[in-house]
C-alpha cells in the first residue's frame, strides 16, 4: 500500500502546487501508516520533495513525456499506481491535473473527489471535505473504490515540511502511440507572470473601470504586489480583457490569499467563484455594493483615485520592507 502524488513541474522546476500536494499526501500517508511516492515528468532536483515527506520519486525522463499530454500522463500514473500498489492518488487542481485525472479515474474505475479543502476526516472509510455549489457549500464525500483520487484545492492545505530520507528513481512508462492522438500544435502562455490558478494575490477589476484603456492602473497595482490580474464576466464579454481572466462561477475559480476587487459589484455568480480566497478587499464607489457584505476590508471610493495612490504607497511599503 502507498500514497502516490503527481508533482507537476514546468521546465524542470517544481510548481508551487507540487509541494502542496506532496504535503497533503504525507498527511494522508501518516493517517494510513504508509509512504508517499511521487511521480514527476522531467523534473530537476527531485530531492527537494523529501522535505515534504516524499520517500521515493519516480522521475519520467522519456522524451515522449517532455510536454504534458493528458492521456499519456494518465496512463503513466496508472502504471505507477499499479507498480507501487497505491490505494490513494493525490493531485492538484491545476487545469492539467484536472484534465488528466478524469481520464485516470475512468481507466482505474477510481473514486474521485475534486476541490478538496482539508485533510481527510478519516481514512477508513476515506472521507474528504470538498467545496460544492461553487463555494456556496461544502460536501463530505466518502470514497469507496479500491483506489481513490483526491484533487486538492489550491492554497487550501498549504505546504508543510516533514523531512524524510528519500530516493529518486527513473521510471519508464510504456510509450503507446494511441496515447498521443491529441496533439499539441501551439502554446500561447504568459511566462514569468503569476497566474490566477497559483497566485498568492489576485487583483481583479470590473465594469466600474469604464473601459479597457483604464487597465493600466490595475496592472501597476498587480505588478507591485506580484499579483495575477483577473476580471468580472461582463468585462471579458465586452472584450476589454481576455476570456482567461474571467473569474466566477462560469469562469476561473480564485483561491488566493488576497483578492482585491475593484469596481466589481459582487453579483452572486462572481462571489461564488472567488469566495474561497482567504482575505478580500473591495474598492467601490457605492457603499451599497453587495461585495462589501462578502469582504474583509473595504474602501468606499473612486478606483481612479484610490488605486494609483495605493500603488504608490505599496511601493514605499515594499521598499521599506524589502
Amino acid at each position: 500500500m502507498s500514497v502516490l502524488v503527481y508533482t507537476e513541474s514546468e521546465k524542470g522546476n517544481y510548481k508551487k502546487n507540487a509541494f502542496e500536494v506532496a504535503s497533503y499526501a504525507r498527511e494522508v500517508a501518516d493517517k494510513m501508516g504508509t509512504d508517499v511516492i511521487a511521480i514527476s515528468f522531467h523534473a530537476d532536483e527531485s530531492e527537494t520533495l523529501e522535505k515534504y515527506g516524499v520517500s521515493k520519486v519516480l522521475n519520467v525522463t522519456d522524451p515522449a513525456y517532455q510536454t504534458f499530454n493528458a492521456k499519456a500522463y494518465a496512463s503513466a500514473l496508472g502504471e505507477a499506481a499499479r507498480s507501487e500498489n497505491a490505494s490513494v492518488i493525490v493531485i492538484s487542481s491545476s487545469t492539467d491535473a484536472k484534465y488528466m485525472a478524469g481520464i485516470l479515474a475512468g481507466e482505474l474505475e477510481a473514486g474521485y473527489a475534486t476541490n478538496v479543502v482539508a485533510a481527510p476526516e478519516s481514512t477508513s472509510p476515506l472521507v474528504v471535505k470538498r467545496t460544492a455549489f461553487t463555494n456556496k457549500g461544502f460536501m463530505y464525500t466518502q470514497l469507496n473504490a479500491a483506489l481513490n483520487i483526491i484533487g486538492v484545492s489550491s492554497n487550501a492545505f498549504g505546504t508543510r515540511e516533514n523531512p524524510v530520507a528519500g530516493k529518486v528513481e527513473g521510471f519508464s512508462p510504456t510509450v503507446n502511440n494511441d496515447h498521443f492522438t491529441v496533439k499539441s500544435v501551439e502554446i500561447d502562455q504568459v511566462v514569468g507572470k503569476a497566474t490566477i490558478a497559483d497566485a498568492d494575490i489576485v487583483v481583479s477589476a470590473g465594469r466600474g473601470l469604464k473601459g479597457p484603456e483604464n487597465w493600466g492602473i490595475i496592472e501597476e497595482l498587480a505588478d507591485v504586489l506580484g499579483a495575477a490580474t483577473a476580471c468580472s464576466k461582463p468585462v471579458s464579454d465586452l472584450g476589454w480583457r481576455p476570456h482567461g481572466e474571467h473569474v466566477g462561477q462560469t469562469g476561473k475559480p480564485v483561491a488566493s490569499n488576497l483578492y482585491i476587487a475593484i469596481g466589481i459589484s459582487g453579483a452572486i455568480q462572481h462571489l461564488a467563484g472567488v469566495s474561497s480566497s482567504k482575505v478580500k478587499v473591495v474598492i467601490n464607489t457605492d457603499p451599497e455594493a453587495p461585495f462589501f457584505k462578502a469582504a474583509d476590508y473595504g474602501i468606499v471610493g473612486d478606483a481612479f483615485q484610490v488605486v494609483p495612490e495605493l500603488t504608490e504607497k505599496l511601493k514605499e511599503f515594499k521598499a521599506q520592507n524589502a
Binding site: 478524469g102 455549489f133 470514497l143 500544435v185 504568459v190 455568480q269 474583509d296
Partner: protein, 248 residues
Amino acid sequence: MKILVCISNVPDTTSKINFTADNTKFDTTGVQFVINPNDEFGLTRAMWFKEKQGAEVHVATVGDSSVEPTMRKALAIGADEAIRVDAVPLDGLFVARQLAEVVKNGEYDLILAGRESIDYNGGMVPGMMAAMLNINFVNTCISLEVDGTVARAEREIDGGKEVLETSLPLIIGGQKGLVEESDLRIPNMRGIMMARKKKLSVVPPVEASSGSEEIKFERPAPKGEVKLVDAENLDELINLLHNEAKVI
C-alpha cells in the same frame, strides 16, 4: 456528423443553496433548474454545426423525470432528439458509464459535455467517459472546429491557451469561450411548440458501480463584518493587510 450534447440539470446560478435539516441532502425546494452553463455553450456550438455543417444533434441526461423540463428546453433551442437515462446520478463514475453506453449505441462522432457541472463541481464525467470509450478528449475547451474527421480545438491552460489537433470521435469538456456570449439562445415560441413533438426517449440504466457517495453537507461559516477603511487613509489598509491579515 452525429453530435451528442451531455446536459446536466443544475440549480440556476442565482439560487440560494440550502440543505435538508439533517444536512444529508441538497434541498431543492423553490430552486429553479437550468441547463448547466458549460453545457449550454456546448449545445450552442452544436447548433452551429447543425446549421453550417448539417450535423444531427441529440442531447442526453442521466436523471429521473424531474430533469425533463430542462431537456425540453434543449429541444426548444434546436436539438433534434433527447435521451434520458432513467436513473438518479450516483456519482461521476456511474454517470460516465451510463453516458458511455448512450454514445456506443448512438455511434456519435462528437460528444459535447461541460468542463464541470456547477452544482457538485465534479469536473470528471467527460474524462471518465473518454477513458471508458477509449476516444480522444479535450478539456476546458474554448474553441472547436471540425473538418471531416479532423478536429482543431483550443483549450485553456493556466496562464494561456493551447491549440490541439486530433480526430473524431472526440469528447469535449466545454466552457465559456466555445461560443460568443451573444450567440446563446433563448427558446422562442416556435421552438417550444416544436420541442413538444420531438422525440424524448427514456432508456433504463446499465449495471454500473459508483466510486463515491455524499455523506453530508455543510454551509460556509457566516462572514464577519467588513472593516471599512477611509479612502484618505490608505496607510491604514496596508497596515491591516500586513499586520492583521498577514497577506502582504
